[in-house]
């Protein structure tokens, strides 16, 4: 059994390599460029809408410090619902195709963006904010010139987490007749064509890695001078205690 399986694995690797080198897999509707574009389109649109919703909300809550615990609790609750379940819930309303996956992906991306924006802003040194206020800055100036620059790495980390999750989860669209790289996985599974299935999985993993690296790079660029590379406070960090509570 052992050597036999080893031979099978080698065969499979050969098949996957053959899949990638077959020119037919690089052209047309089902070619890698088109599927990649579809995948980026769906992921990008989901990220855009999620960012438009979650970032202003997170910044507002983080700046004012009001309703933070509630927002974080609701956001975390939302993250407990599997995207696959949401996909089937939205299906009757949005119909087949990427349209049903889109709202599920938006809901997937909102929690990390919101929670990190909030946590990042609350983590900004209060003395810094008070100094700005003492200089006569308006609340908007405080947010944009003091809090956001200081909190940027954490905020971007939220975007990174959301983007990686969205890119990986956008494969679900294929289950409801959508496009994207998930097509290879769903079709490969249905046809029992392992080469296609594995090639699809590799492409999705590579894309997720590229997205992750791009956002990590952006995170580094947003560090303030003299600031150490902060541990990416991931997304689940409890909201920092408010100073001067008593």
């Amino acid at each position: 059994m052992g050597p036999d399986q080893g031979r099978l694995t080698m065969e499979l690797i050969g098949e996957v390599v053959a899949w990638f080198t077959d020119p037919a897999n690089w052209t047309g509707t089902n070619g890698v460029p088109n599927r990649l574009l579809e995948h980026l389109r769906l992921s990008g649109a989901s990220m855009l809408v999620a960012t438009l919703i979650a970032l202003p909300a997170g910044l507002a809550i983080g700046h004012s410090g009001r309703g933070g615990l509630l927002a974080v609790a609701v956001a975390n609750l939302g993250r407990a619902v599997p995207s696959y379940a949401l996909l089937l819930v939205f299906l009757p309303f949005f119909g087949l195709g990427d349209a049903a996956a889109f709202p599920a992906l938006v809901l997937l991306a909102i929690p990390p963006i919101l929670v990190n924006a909030y946590t990042g802003l609350r983590g900004v040194d209060r003395d810094l904010v008070e100094a700005g206020r003492g200089m006569g800055m308006t609340e908007l100036q405080l947010l944009l010139r003091v809090e956001l620059p200081a909190a940027a790495p954490v905020v971007v980390a939220g975007l990174r987490l959301a983007a990686v999750a969205v890119v990986a989860t956008a494969t679900l669209a294929a289950l409801v007749a959508g496009g994207g790289l998930g097509r290879y996985i769903a079709d490969g599974f249905g046809l029992r064509r392992e080469d296609r299935l594995i090639a699809g999985a590799i492409l999705v993993a590579l894309l997720a890695l590229v997205v992750e690296r791009a956002f990590t790079f952006a995170e580094r660029r947003t560090l303030l001078p003299g600031d150490q590379r902060r541990p990416s406070t991931a997304d689940l960090a409890p909201p920092p205690l408010q100073s001067g509570l008593r």
Partner: protein
Amino acid sequence: MRLFRTVALGATSLALALSACTSGGGSTSGPTTGASTSPSTPPSSEPSGSAGAEPSGSGTAGGPTIASTLVLAGPPECPERPFCLLGLQDTYGLQFKEFRPTDAGGPITVEALKGGDAQVGLLFTSDPAIETNDFVLLEDDKGLQLADNIIPVVRQEILDANPGVADVLNAVMERLTQDELTKLNTAVTVDARDVAEVATEWIEAQNFDAASAGIEGEITVGSTNFYEQEILGEIFAQMLEANGATVERKFQLGNREVVFPALQEGEIDVLAEYAATALEFVNEGAGEATADAADTASILRERLAESDLTALEPAEATDQNGFVVTRETADQYGLSKLSDLAKPAP
């Protein structure tokens, strides 16, 4: 300075996403009632079904066929399978407007039909969804699918001792139409009713002749983990009991790979099977099954005889690939069988 970089990053991702939106465009069409609940326009994706894609197929008469105006939904492997799209093309000469990959006879295909994203869908012929959604199962009038008619498989020893067993079970097969089987499945899976209760009710409704078979001794009825086979097993059991047998039920035994050996070894005596699938299981995929239930059943009997088993008469009811349309589509185009789809479009 730093802010600029943040903004630049934001702008880049915005540009990426915006390009996505502009290339999307149209809102989701379709008569789904809840569509208005989405404030934002979902990104369109695949060439949507309602877009002006020109029908690729034309009928033998030259003009477009009904099929060429309809969208087919089925599992992703359908376009490469002889019992799915390939067979529809070769056997029926059907070319659909579009194929949309959904699932293998599951909820996504059902939703696609209900929402109007597809007009023809591949389900299993005894799927309760056909009953609950008032779908119309198109008759496979050119015999594309292998005959997976319900058929009782029985140990020869039992029949030799009690020939009445064959009469009792064949009487059940005679009444088991496609409609009846689908209703039984619906009662148990959708209405969540007790299997024994559903079986009793069905038997009463059939008004079988009064118990006369005079069966003696013990008979063990088996079933796989599949609800449909369990319902049929329960009906067999109650019918045999009513005719004098002492019945032991061994349901939920696992899959065919477990249940068939149990039958051969005499652990169970009676099992509700599917003619074509059972035949191809026994002959190890020799490809002897056909679309004809009687032919398939007789070959099955020959193959089973080698292990002292036999099969009785096949029912009309099947559980196999079935193409369905909504009642609305059926009425609109006058569809009742698959070959109707090849008629010229109105």
